[in-house]
Subunit: 258 residues, 2 copies
Amino acid sequence: MNTDKLSIIPKITLLGAGPGDPDLLTLKGVKALQTADVVLYDALIDETLLDFAPSAAIKIYVGKRSGEHAFEQDAINRLMVDYALNYGHVVRLKGGDPFVFGRGYEELDFADSYSVPVTVIPGISSSIGVPGLQQIPVTHRGMSESFWVITGTTSGGQLSADIAQAATSNATVVILMGLKKLPEIVELFKAAGKADLPAAVVQNGSSANEKLIVGTVKNIVEQAQKEQVQAPALLIFGEVVSLHPSFKSLIKPYASIA
Amino acid sequence: MNTDKLSIIPKITLLGAGPGDPDLLTLKGVKALQTADVVLYDALIDETLLDFAPSAAIKIYVGKRSGEHAFEQDAINRLMVDYALNYGHVVRLKGGDPFVFGRGYEELDFADSYSVPVTVIPGISSSIGVPGLQQIPVTHRGMSESFWVITGTTSGGQLSADIAQAATSNATVVILMGLKKLPEIVELFKAAGKADLPAAVVQNGSSANEKLIVGTVKNIVEQAQKEQVQAPALLIFGEVVSLHPSFKSLIKPYASIA
């Protein structure tokens, strides 16, 4: 840790830690942490990642979880710049990728306004990585030529208008932070004539306590309730969900009777 | 390398290497390479990544580039399974993420048909990471609540129908492998009344020779031609491109005259 204020060179690294499994951090991320004077880390960050930072580095939890808002975004922005000016290299360790609904650009913009240089290190976004770890490909030849990633919780709290349009598209649709609004979202897919479209909900993606629910638009709400799925969870709508082995067993419930 | 055939346990790891910069490999990827008996790697893979594999491991280039097709997908599938059955752990090292237009699921499916177990390790997809490294966020509050990632080159060679729909949406639109079709793509955005939408082309994203072109739907083809942009390149359409510093200077071409 740099304590000689005259020699302090403030800088900030916005670092994406990936979806949860600490081994999904990049080598570039490890190197950034190794030179950190301060680490500001979110909820959902595996704390073993902090061990890559020098033991003398200051480590501060600034997590906000839906409903709690332990730290407001403004407070995080200010903390980040204050620490950079006073201690040097601040690593802002964020879940997933900094720019996928991570409010990373707001942090970059705030740092810019104080002329503190920012480096961005992408992380594995759960939008791609969590389906992938479940061996559900977001794209697959002859099945899906695109995928559309949408937030389930907009800044205003309402459902994003993009979801209604996505429901009418041929894209694989991945929705983050949408579990609470699953019943509303499902209605949009039904209205688009897609009651039989395969759908999945993944809770705690990439972590040891990961849970996968597979079904169709018609029954996914019931399935998720039955299995008591909780946030954080990711929603997947698309034919590609049918490639998951548990989907095949689902549509042939009596096939295993010998 | 395992040479005692009786003790061979075949397995395959589909490993995403990220967009180009070798430091964007994950720790989980490093660990997989360290136990590889065979590495089958693509074009666009930085060969320094092969150094993580044991020196005795077999390393085979199976790259196909647009137009060349050095290896057909069927040949790669067979090679992958043959090596797993004969040598043990095959790491299939792929650019970006294995399931983002990487034909990863075809490889998984083929391995499945031979009962060779497959592990998937996600990689940083260039669709998110390349804009991010340029400090262009694919999402930003009040500007973009979603992003839509589409291939510019479908299996049939024509333009994906998804692009026309994406052009009418509010999503940030990211198109991979679409440079050759940029003039056609731009027409779709113009037809949707978006001639003034900010647009960017990034060549060799995340590599030392990265090149960024910024403009609008109206002039991006001309800009890309003037700068002689070549594949591999990624296209970004959306208001978020306006956040890039070079866009600000673009729309005020005379502002710097002192």
